[in-house]
């Protein structure tokens, strides 16, 4: 069983919702990343989403754009991200790591070499923001052959037909983008999310993660009632940016946020998630 499937099964049995923090690899500097990952796990993260820095992150808001710029200024690359995952795996062989990024660094490395090297490094899933299933036909076999779950996005604008098609291509989990906008945007509407998740659940038994606009423990706990996983990105990255000159403190601040979200999510009643 894959690390992702095992993680969601364990959480399901315990009646808990997965908490998935996102950090950009190499932000604010490459030496911080693996330490941040361990701290997030210790604070209650179930899966780590590791952002692959890209020069033109079109789906991201200003917080993650700047994180990409800081990481790239330190010479980060897809190869170095894979090295960091390998280093993380030396001490942690249970927590799934999902990479999130844009197509071009993978295009240049080649999808086949990427999938092989990612698998070797211990990557569990890959979310390519600008690679919808329609363009991924030649890519998915490489991912699947190497045990990399293709994580796909669903959005408020996704039609019934697209939800069905995407769920058929996805594995690991599906990622519902809670709002029309970029990462770190204003605020999400939990009721609207709940209705869309009911629609999505008619097409898949995969766990559903929800992200974009999750800022605080309260939102995380409300979402936790309706989703199988809560993804938190910009709120974490903003704290890393705030303490960019003090990595120790930055690491503690993001661990604190995740611990508070964990507590808030675990204190709600047994979530009723079925449609």
């Amino acid at each position: 069983m894959s690390r992702l499937a095992a993680t969601f099964e364990r959480l399901d049995k315990a009646g808990k919702t997965a908490l998935i923090p996102y950090i950009t690899a190499g932000d604010p500097q490459p030496a911080a990343t693996v330490d941040f990952m361990h701290k997030l796990v210790a604070a209650g993260a179930d899966v780590i989403e590791l952002g692959v820095p890209f020069s033109d992150p079109m789906a991201d808001g200003p917080v993650i754009q700047l994180a990409c710029e800081r990481a790239l200024a330190h010479g980060m690359s897809l190869t170095k991200v894979l090295e960091q995952v390998g280093e993380f795996r030396q001490q942690n062989n249970q927590t799934p790591v999902v990479l999130m990024g844009y197509a071009n660094p993978l295009e240049v490395m080649g999808y086949k070499p990427f999938a092989e090297q990612a698998s070797k490094a211990g990557v569990d899933g890959m979310l390519v923001v600008d690679l919808p299933p329609e363009e991924a036909e030649d890519v998915l076999p490489h991912f699947l052959k190497n045990g990399i779950d293709p994580i796909f996005l669903l959005a408020p604008t996704s039609s019934e037909q697209r939800i069905k098609m995407i769920c058929e291509c996805a594995s690991g989990y599906v990622y519902y983008v809670s709002l029309k906008g970029v990462t770190g945007a204003a605020s999400l509407n939990v009721q609207q999310v709940k209705e869309k998740l009911q629609q999505i659940r008619q097409h898949t038994r995969l766990p559903i993660g929800v992200g974009f606009g999750v800022r605080d423990p309260e939102t995380a706990s409300q979402l936790g009632k309706v989703a199988d996983a809560v993804v938190v990105g910009s709120a974490i990255v903003a704290r890393i940016a705030e303490h960019a000159d003090n990595i120790e403190l930055g690491g503690n601040k993001i661990a604190e946020l995740i611990a508070n979200m964990r507590t808030a999510m675990d204190s709600v009643d047994w979530p009723v998630k079925t449609a």
Partner: protein, 407 residues
């Protein structure tokens, strides 16, 4: 690719249904935009065959833009080059001063038919921004234009024009602060305001159907050229020349001639400070295939797939990508892509101004810079048509600065 297989390509059959020109093009956008680009495709594929829509477009081109634009025989330029006859397709005489308005008229009509009340655009040199602000003013639509901070400085007259026209101008401070970053920011706006907003992309790039619809709207340039040269010379030209940034003026001129194997096609990219310096904007010459801004195409990128900064004296050519159809025309061998430096473009800017009394845009000056060399290699009865895609009034500050002149 062999000559035989080249002849078998029907260039009018591209792109395929999902927007691919061979391996290029496609739809590489986040899921939130997939529904909207499919909706746009549906609306456009219906309207492109709708007689009412086409009549409305043609009427606006005739009475608002001032088409057809003249095809002008540049006699003194021809004499100076000493070879083939040189004709200029005068897109500089269009309302707003460049070919860009052909496309914004078409897309704004599409927006109107789709019930969108707000339009957004990215701009580099400001020509597309001005052309978008112009049609938005005329149709009473809200208009927001994204422009790199760097470009705002070098294109001050166009910045003021857009403001006069009532557009909100957003200065983009991320990345290299030029056209590519303006496009990133426009896409972020679009994904956020997708219900109310139509994104008017200025070139033949972006997710399908943009490369196709922009090409179709700009193809009026080539269709007129064909009729005009047949009436003036009784035959088709031997060569067509146009500058290529994203490539909309070039594809507009080339497209109606793609299936005419005897018409040679030359796209001219910006070699900036010289190809050897790496400071240029010529992805077809020196780039590799990759994915950016919704399509697969040739890109200026490093070994890790990060997009690198480009350089050109011309803000309109300062872009690390190129339309996917050009990538395909390069690979198939149908079009040839060459490049000229800032210095050569500047020389051509002065040459046309002094020989013909026409001040060309610095973008168009790139096409002009390649022409004397090409003309001299041809016979005097042969014909070259150059797309004079825009006028140079917007560039006089840049040129004066470079030459140490204070206005």
């Amino acid at each position: 690719m062999s000559q035989a297989s080249k002849k078998n390509i029907d260039y009018f059959s591209y792109p395929d249904e999902s927007g691919h020109f061979g391996p290029y093009g496609g739809r590489f956008v986040a899921e939130t935009l997939m529904g909207p680009v499919q909706e746009l495709t549906k609306a456009y594929m219906h309207l492109r065959h709708d007689a009412g829509f086409r009549a409305e477009f043609d009427r606006d081109l005739a009475h608002y833009v001032g088409r057809p634009s003249p095809l002008y025989f540049a006699e003194r330029l021809t004499l100076a080059a000493g070879g083939a006859k040189i004709y200029l397709k005068r897109e500089d005489l269009n309302h707003t001063g460049a070919h860009k308005v052909n496309n914004t008229i078409g897309q704004a009509l599409l927006a109107k038919h789709m019930g969108k009340k707000r339009v957004i655009a990215e701009t580099g040199a400001g020509q597309h921004g001005v052309a978008t602000a112009t049609v938005a003013a005329r149709l009473g639509m809200e208009c927001v234009v994204y422009m790199g901070e760097e470009d705002i400085h070098r294109q001050a007259p166009n910045v003021y024009r857009m403001k006069l026209l009532g557009a909100e101008l957003v200065s983009v401070k991320s990345g290299s602060r030029t056209l590519k970053d303006a496009m990133n920011e426009a896409m972020r706006d679009w994904v956020t305001n997708v219900d109310s907003t139509f994104y008017i992309i200025g070139t033949v790039a972006g997710p399908h159907p943009y490369p196709t619809l922009v090409r179709d709207f700009q193809s009026i340039i080539g269709r007129e050229t064909r009729e005009q040269i047949l009436s003036l010379e009784g035959r088709l030209p031997d060569a067509l020349v146009a500058c290529v940034g994203g490539g909309s003026n070039a594809i507009g001129l080339f497209y109606p001639f793609l299936n005419e194997p005897n018409v040679a096609l030359y796209g001219v990219e910006a070699a900036g400070e010289g190809m050897a310096t790496g400071r240029h904007a010529a992805p077809l010459a020196a780039g590799k295939s990759g994915v950016l801004h919704g399509n697969r195409t040739y890109l200026m990128e490093d070994d890790n797939g990060q997009i690198i900064e480009t350089h050109s004296i011309s803000a309109g050519l300062d872009y690390p990508g190129v339309g996917p159809e050009h990538a395909w025309l390069k690979d198939s061998g149908r079009a040839k892509y060459v490049n000229v430096t800032d210095r050569q473009a500047l020389g051509a800017f002065h040459q046309l101004t002094r020989l013909e009394g026409i001040i060309p845009a610095l973008e168009s000056a790139h096409a002009l810079a390649f022409v004397p060399e090409l003309a001299a290699s041809m016979q005097s009865e042969q014909i070259i048509v150059v797309n004079l895609s825009g006028r140079g009034d917007k560039d006089i500050n840049t040129v004066a600065d470079l030459e140490g002149i204070t206005l």
